[in-house]
Symmetry: C2
Subunit: 480 residues, 2 copies
């Protein structure tokens, strides 16, 4: 006798035919995302048109089958993993991108790769600013689901800031549009922004209209080394005090830089190996570049132990490679990494650095830290060996202590990755019961059967106890 769930999946196949796959390989590939916690689904639907989504959701509600929406699968929080099994909506076949060059809008389907959207915009002389490090692999739908940030956030904000309108389906399968391709809209509730960042739990996005901005004329890139992490972060404050808004202002702590230098065998600044670093990118017209460059030269450079200006695209790339290579270098300190994307106010950055030092001592672990200093959004990377039970315990304890410390500094437990399963255990440190009850009431109102991406965000899950898959993903930096 087939189970109720098996009957549901048969019915799904009957409705959607070859769009539905149940072969073991497809199921395995859809069973995890960038966090690599595997939960097998019972079917994967290759979404070929909008209406597929509605049909799947209607059937899922009828048969009580969990549904998880999947883009590029680059989530670092397991938010795209089919935690409770059921069906996966693979949105990647829906990937058209159309640029409206007059209005400065991009009409994109959810499965479009972010880099493709950026390139399409550029080919029309426009710019789509959000630039998460997964840009070549993640989809717009996924970026919307977690409100992705990225490297240009200091000046250009996050994904939400570029969304004009969304189309898609309610968890119960009804088609809806939130907003229109217009510059203003004051009609009813703002469901658009409620969907953005809700990690695929309140609806399925099939299309988005994105706002583009004129491309800046020029850019310039700088690398600065400081006598200490404190000196580097004081420079960040100086930049903020000057009301100077760089495109990127990336901080690398001494542990990140030393690790990188051991990994590559060369010093970034031979005159001061292992020094904390700021990577600064600015853009604008010639006069803006000149003003900003002068400020950096006259006010910031004197605070440094080393200061370099990129004289070519290639040199700018080499500066960015310093930032990019920090990630693979970290694996010298352990085979596993907890990348916590916490946020603190500008004036708590020094306190955070101090706290991380005590955390290294108390945990006995390496915790190389880098991040978007202008936003106060740091990636704290707790390194350990998965087979060392004692190190695992210490890492687990360190994360919890980090989260508590961040909240006590007035910060946030996540700035751009979201909660998913990874941070569900810490959500109550940040949000009050009143706040969570309101969010859950909304979930219940829109998804009465709890069909869509169940178990994410709100139910504390001991993500720690589940072993990640030993698999190398296309975007894994390790060893690159």
């Amino acid at each position: 006798m087939p189970t109720a769930h098996e009957i549901a999946t048969l019915s799904l196949k009957q409705h959607l035919g070859s769009a539905v796959s149940t072969d073991a390989d497809a199921l395995y590939r859809a069973s995890f995302d960038g966090m690599k916690l595997s939960f097998l689904p019972s079917a994967v639907v290759s979404v070929r048109n909008d209406a597929h989504v509605g049909s799947v959701l209607k059937l899922a509600n009828l048969h009580n089958v969990p549904v998880t929406t999947r883009g590029g699968g680059t989530s670092l929080t397991a938010s795209a993993s089919p935690f409770k099994g059921g069906w996966v909506l693979d949105m990647t076949p829906l990937n058209s991108v159309e640029i409206d060059a007059l209005e400065g809008l991009a009409h994109v389907e959810a499965g479009a790769i972010v880099a493709t959207v950026q390139q399409s915009a550029e080919s029309h002389g426009w710019m789509y600013p959000p630039d998460p490090s997964s840009v070549k692999h993640s989809t717009i739908g996924g970026n919307l689901a977690c409100n992705a940030g990225g490297l240009r956030g200091a000046k250009y904000g996050v994904t939400r800031d570029y969304v004009v309108a969304l189309e898609g389906y309610l968890p119960t399968g009804e088609r809806v549009c939130w907003g229109r391709p217009l510059r203003k809209w004051a009609v009813g509730y703002n469901m658009r922004d409620l969907w953005i960042g809700s990690e695929g739990t309140l609806g399925v996005i099939t299309k988005a209209t994105l706002r583009l901005i004129p491309r800046p004329e020029q850019k310039a890139t700088f690398l600065a080394a400081f006598a200490s992490e404190e000196e580097a972060l004081n420079a960040v404050i100086k930049i903020a005090e000057a009301r100077f808004i760089p495109v990127a202002l990336e901080f690398l702590d001494t542990e990140s830089v030393s690790g990188l230098e051991n990994f590559t065998g060369t010093s970034v600044f031979p005159e001061c190996p292992g020094a904390a670093i700021l990577l600064i990118e600015i853009d604008g017209n010639a006069s803006q570049i000149e003003t900003q460059r002068a400020f950096l030269r006259n006010t910031i450079a004197p605070l440094t132990k080393g200061f370099r200006t990129a004289n070519s695209e290639e040199e700018a790339e080499s500066f960015w490679n310093v930032r990019r290579k920090c990630s693979p270098a970290m694996f010298a300190h352990g085979d596993s990494k907890l990348n916590e994307d916490i946020v603190v106010p500008l004036r708590s950055q020094l306190k955070l650095i101090e706290f991380l030092r005590t955390l290294r001592t108390s945990s006995g672990l390496h915790i190389p830290t880098f991040g978007h200093a202008a936003d106060g959004n740091f990636h704290v990377n707790i390194m350990y060996n998965r087979d060392d039970a004692n190190a695992c315990e210490r890492a687990k304890k360190a994360v919890k202590e980090l989260m508590s410390a961040v909240v006590s500094m007035g910060g946030a437990i996540s700035g751009e990755h979201g909660i998913g399963l990874a941070k569900s255990d810490y959500l109550r440190l940040q949000c009050s019961d009143n706040e969570l009850q309101a969010m859950l009431a909304i979930k219940k109102a829109l998804d009465p059967k709890g069909i869509l991406n169940p178990g994410k965000i709100f139910t504390p899950y001991p993500a720690w106890e589940k072993r990640p898959e030993k698999i190398r993903l296309a975007w894994d930096h390790r060893g690159d």
Copy 2:
């Protein structure tokens, strides 16, 4: 025997003492907003601290009393009127403004006047860009409730774009914070943006953290007259094609300009009286101003019948006065005005102008139109005499035809005023049943007893049939 409602109000007085007023004058003043439809409340609570709000809402839920939140009362849609009676929360006593000059944030209480926030930001070298025409009278809370737009929207967007975090109370009286004073936040659902623009139906905002931007170094103002409305709007397209983003790009149609000229007795451009006008403001550093000025001089000026550059602050003010005086001048065409803040896509602007001409003919009414052309957000002003029953009927029919036409052009029935009671009758032209059901499910989830601002947005109301109060408000332009 006192009624249940009277007992509830007695209990309110017992709890909040002198903060509660039931005198006839206070009740009358709180009975209407800028739309002047009067609905008497049974008590007005002068909110002196955050906790007052929680207490009022708890009592209101206990006794089933409607509650309406009120800021400056400048709403043009009756969204701040106590439509179902009950209690009014007067937020104006909660009006502190604190600038965090380092982080570039303003911490404000809901009752703070928007102009005060702007001035406080400026005194610290920062800028709070949203600039609705009610700026001297409306509160931040009210601006958040309707996601106010304004005159700088072309470059700087709307209120929502500057909100970092909100504090306040759920309709059921529990205190909540949505977001923190941080540049990034990816924790749980985005209730902040759900509250913004929900017209006081989903919660009561008591505090907000607003993002400020560095003040632009310079600005410049221009006035251009065109041979026809089409020529003026073609210039708007030329500006869009050049990816040139002015701070303001205000369009005045020929009927607005002729009306103004009759009203003041002088021609704006003596060389072409009654010509359609664009008012253009730009800002930036010296080099940006120069580039933009050159573009206007070389590309736009040749398309005009008259082109003027403001050579002083006073002259710029006089250009702005052309725009401002259009409103009072309109009352030569009738004692009543329907100001419809519709939005159309850039490429439908000419179609809108054509439609308005046929509407003038079919209705026999004056319909002077101006607005924020870069956003496609026009104020279509249908003028009529309230005591002329036939004109009333024609005006009513004209609004309905306008709304249908706008929606069929891919536009929006409101760009910045919201729905309130005024547009509730047209909401179904714009939103599908699926969309409205989802919004109503959220309302029900957060406000199960329907306590907060009942009857607004979703229930069609024949606003037409209720006579507005004959009263002059502080911000009424008429005759100024």
